[in-house]
C-alpha cells in the first residue's frame, strides 16, 4: 500500500537466490516466467491489492451463500422487535445480531442479501459498459473520420453533465427501478470506457505488427478483434475494476434518493433512504448498511490500484 512501485521485483529476487545457493531450479534462469506468474509476482508485492482481492472473494462467497448464512429471511418483519439494538448493546440479543429496522427486519440478513444485489448488478453494469465501450471505442479508433467525431462528441456531451445528475435524468425518463438505475449507471460509465479504448486502439494502430498483419491480408474484423484488441485490454481491465466501485457507489446513491432499487429490496443504499428519521433512536440502522458499501468500494479500489501497478509496463523494470 505504498506508492505501488515494487521496491524489488520478486521474480528477479528468486532467480538471484537460485543462483546464489545453487538450489535446483524448476526452469532455466533465462526462461521468461509464465505471464500469469509474472503478473501475480508484481501484483502480490503490495499488501493492499491482495487484501482487496481477499475481501472481494469473501463478498462473493457471502453473496452466493446468503440464503444459508442469513439468520432470517431478508424481508420477514418481526412485529415483536421494532428497532431492536445489536447484540452487544443493552437490550440486544443474538436473535438479531446487528439489530432490526423500523419494521422489524433483521439488518444482518438484509446486508448479506444486499451483497447479492450490489455485486450482481455491479457486475452487470461493468460488463455492459465494458463491452459497449470497447465496441464504440474500437470503431472510433479503427475507422477514424466522421464516425469517430460523432461518437466522441456524443461522449463529450455525456461527460458535460455531473455523473449523478445524468443518472437521475435517465431514471426520470425510464422510471425508478433497480434495472433502470443499472442502465443509467451503464450510460454514465460508458464515456470512460470509450475514451480509453479509442486511445489504446489509436496507439496500437501505428505499431508495426498491425501493419504486418494488414499486409498479410487480415480483414478489418480480424485486425480489430484478434490483432489489436488483446493489446488494448490492460487499461480497460483497470478501468473495469475501478468502474465496479463507482457502480456500487452510484447504485447505492440512487437507491438512497429513492430512484434505484425500490423497497423492500434489500439494497444497501435503499436501506439508508429513510435512516435519517431514526438517527436519534437507532444508530445501527444508519451504520451497518453504509459500512457494507464502504468495505465493498474500498476493496475494489484497492484491487484496481494494484492491477494498474501490476499491468503498467512503465513501472516494471
Amino acid at each position: 500500500m505504498s506508492d505501488g512501485r515494487p521496491s524489488e521485483p520478486p521474480v528477479v529476487a528468486e532467480v538471484m537466490a537460485d543462483g546464489k545457493f545453487g538450489a535446483p531450479s524448476p526452469m532455466p534462469a533465462s526462461a521468461p516466467p509464465h505471464p500469469l506468474a509474472e503478473f501475480w509476482a508484481y501484483f502480490s508485492v503490495n499488501r493492499g491489492p491482495v487484501i482487496g482481492l481477499t475481501v472481494i472473494v469473501i463478498l462473493v462467497v457471502v453473496a452466493v451463500l446468503a440464503p444459508w448464512l442469513a439468520p432470517h429471511p431478508p424481508n420477514e418483519q418481526y412485529r415483536e422487535a421494532f428497532l431492536a439494538p445489536p447484540f452487544w448493546a443493552t437490550g440486544g440479543s443474538l436473535t438479531f445480531p446487528l439489530g432490526t429496522d423500523d419494521v422489524g427486519r433483521d439488518i444482518l440478513s438484509r446486508i448479506l442479501f444486499g451483497a447479492r444485489v450490489s455485486l450482481s448488478i455491479g457486475f452487470l453494469v461493468v460488463a455492459l459498459a465494458l463491452t459497449s465501450g470497447i465496441a464504440l471505442g474500437l470503431v472510433a479508433g479503427f475507422f477514424r473520420g466522421p464516425i469517430e467525431i460523432a461518437i466522441m462528441r456524443l461522449m463529450d456531451v455525456m461527460l458535460a453533465l455531473p455523473s449523478l445528475l445524468l443518472a437521475i435524468v435517465i431514471v426520470a425518463i425510464l422510471g425508478p427501478s433497480l434495472i433502470n438505475a443499472a442502465m443509467a449507471v451503464v450510460i454514465v460509465q460508458l464515456p470512460h470506457f470509450v475514451r480509453l479504448a479509442r486511445a489504446a486502439v489509436i496507439t496500437e494502430m501505428s505499431r508495426d505488427y498491425v501493419t504486418a498483419s494488414r499486409v498479410s491480408g487480415a480483414g478489418p474484423l480480424r485486425l480489430m478483434l484478434i490483432t489489436i484488441l488483446p493489446n488494448c485490454m490492460a487499461p480497460l481491465i483497470v478501468q473495469a475494476t475501478l468502474g465496479f466501485s463507482t457502480a456500487v457507489l452510484d447504485l447505492a446513491a440512487l437507491g438512497f434518493l429513492g430512484m434505484g432499487a425500490q423497497p423492500p429490496t434489500p439494497e444497501w443504499g435503499t436501506m439508508l433512504a429513510n435512516a435519517l428519521q431514526f438517527i436519534q433512536r437507532a444508530w445501527w440502522v444508519v451504520t451497518f448498511p453504509g459500512l457494507a458499501i464502504l468495505v465493498t468500494v474500498l476493496a475494489f479500489n484497492l484491487l484496481g490500484d494494484g492491477l494498474r501497478d501490476a499491468l503498467d509496463p512503465k513501472l516494471k523494470r
Binding site: M1, S2, D3, G48, R153, L154, D156, V157, L159, A160, L161, P162, S163, L164, L165, I168, V169, V171, A172, I173, G175, S245, L249, A252, A253, F256, L257, G258, M259, G269, L272, A275, L276, I279, Q280, W283, V286, T287, P289, G290, I293, L294, V297, L298, N301, L302, D305
Partner: protein, 336 residues
C-alpha cells in the same frame, strides 16, 4: 493566446448543442402526456387539449420545436415550474448562491487539509504519517458520502449536539439576501450571532462534501511532490545548503502544484454530483436538492432547465480551468 482561447471556446459549441438536444429530448421522453402534466389529472375536452398543444407548439414538427426551444434558451427563457409557476431561471438564480457557498467551503476545507497532508506524506515517505495519509485518502475516496453525512450528523449533531441538522441558518434570524451568500449577508447584517449560526449550519455539509476532493488532493499532492523531490534541481538546492523548509515549501511545492490545480479544477463536476446528495441530506436549499425534488414532483420543466444550466456552469468552469492551465503552462498553449 487569443487563438488558444477561441479554439477552446469553439470546442464547447458542439457539446452545448448536444446538451440542448438532450434536454429537448428529455421532456418528450418522460412518461405521460405533457398537457396532462401541466393541467393535472382532471379530464379536459379534446378541443381544449388541442388548444393547449398549439399554445405550447407541440403540434409543429420536431425540428421546428427544437428551433423554438433553442431561441427560447438563448433569450433566457427556460420555461416555468409546473408546481410553483415561477420561471425556472429565476428559481435557479435564487438557489445557486447556496450551492456555490457550500461548494466553495467544501473545496477550501479539502485544500486546507489535503494539501499539507500530501506534502507531509511525501516528505516523510514511508513513515507512519505517510501510511496514515494514504489510508485516510483511500477511505475518503471510497466513501459513500450520503452515509458519511449521516455519520457526521450522528456524531456531531445527535451525540455531541454541536451543530444543527439541517438548513442554512436558525429560524430565529431573518437575513436580507444581499449577495445570496449567507456568510457574507450575516456579516453585513447587524446581528453578529447570525454569522455563527450560519457557520455552524455550514460546517457539516462542507466536511461531507469536501471529503472526496480532500482524498484526491492529498493523493495527487503526494505523488506529484514525490516526483518533483526526485528532480536534479531539488538536489542542487539542497546541496547549496538551503533550509529544508525553503526547498520543500518554495522550490518543490511550486512545481508540484500544477497537476494539483488541474485536479481541483476538474473536481467541479464531482463536487456537483456530491452536492445533490449533501443538499438532500442536510435540507440545504440549493440547486442539487431542487433538482432531486423536481424529479420526485415530476416537475419536468425544472429538471430540463436545471440540467441545462448545471451543464453550462460545469462546462464554463472547465473552460476557465483549461485556460488558466494554458496560462501557467505555455507547453499546453502552443501545442497543436
Amino acid at each position: 493566446m487569443i487563438r488558444f482561447v477561441l479554439t477552446r471556446f469553439g470546442l464547447l459549441i458542439p457539446t452545448f448543442i448536444g446538451v440542448t438536444l438532450l434536454t429537448f429530448a428529455l421532456i418528450r421522453l418522460v412518461p405521460g402526456d405533457p398537457i396532462e402534466l401541466l393541467v393535472g389529472e382532471r379530464a379536459i375536452s379534446p378541443e381544449r387539449h388541442a388548444m393547449y398543444r398549439a399554445q405550447l407548439g407541440l403540434d409543429k414538427p420536431l425540428p421546428v420545436q427544437y428551433g423554438i426551444y433553442i431561441s427560447d434558451v438563448l433569450s433566457g427563457n427556460l420555461g416555468r415550474s409546473i408546481v410553483t409557476k415561477t420561471p425556472v431561471l429565476e428559481e435557479f438564480a435564487a438557489l445557486f448562491p447556496a450551492t456555490i457557498e457550500l461548494s466553495v467551503c467544501a473545496i477550501v476545507f479539502a485544500i486546507v487539509i489535503g494539501l499539507p497532508l500530501g506534502v507531509l506524506a511525501a516528505v516523510k515517505r514511508g513513515s507512519v504519517l505517510d501510511y496514515a495519509t494514504m489510508g485516510v485518502s483511500l477511505t475518503g475516496y471510497s466513501m459513500p458520502i450520503f452515509w458519511w453525512a449521516l455519520l457526521l450528523i450522528l456524531l456531531f449533531s445527535v451525540q455531541l449536539g454541536w451543530t444543527p441538522v439541517s438548513g442554512r441558518i436558525s429560524v430565529m434570524y431573518y437575513i436580507e439576501p444581499v449577495t445570496g451568500f449567507m456568510l457574507i449577508d450575516t456579516l453585513l447584517s447587524d446581528e453578529p450571532e447570525a454569522f455563527w449560526s450560519a457557520l455552524r449550519h455550514l460546517v457539516l455539509p462542507a466536511i461531507a462534501l469536501g471529503t472526496i476532493p480532500l482524498a484526491v488532493i492529498a493523493r495527487m499532492t503526494r505523488s506529484s511532490m514525490l516526483e518533483v523531490l526526485g528532480e536534479d534541481y531539488i538536489r542542487t538546492a539542497r546541496a547549496e545548503g538551503l533550509a529544508p523548509l525553503r526547498v520543500v515549501g518554495l522550490h518543490a511545492l511550486r512545481n508540484a502544484l500544477i497537476p494539483v490545480i488541474t485536479v481541483i479544477g476538474l473536481a467541479v463536476g464531482v463536487l456537483f454530483a456530491g452536492a445533490i446528495l449533501t443538499e438532500t441530506i442536510f435540507s440545504w436549499p440549493g440547486v442539487g436538492k431542487w433538482l432531486v425534488e423536481s424529479v420526485r414532483r415530476r416537475d419536468y420543466p425544472v429538471l430540463q432547465g436545471g440540467v441545462l444550466l448545471v451543464a453550462s456552469v460545469v462546462m464554463g468552469v472547465n473552460l476557465i480551468v483549461d485556460l488558466l492551465y494554458g496560462l501557467i503552462n505555455p507547453r499546453i498553449r502552443h501545442r497543436r
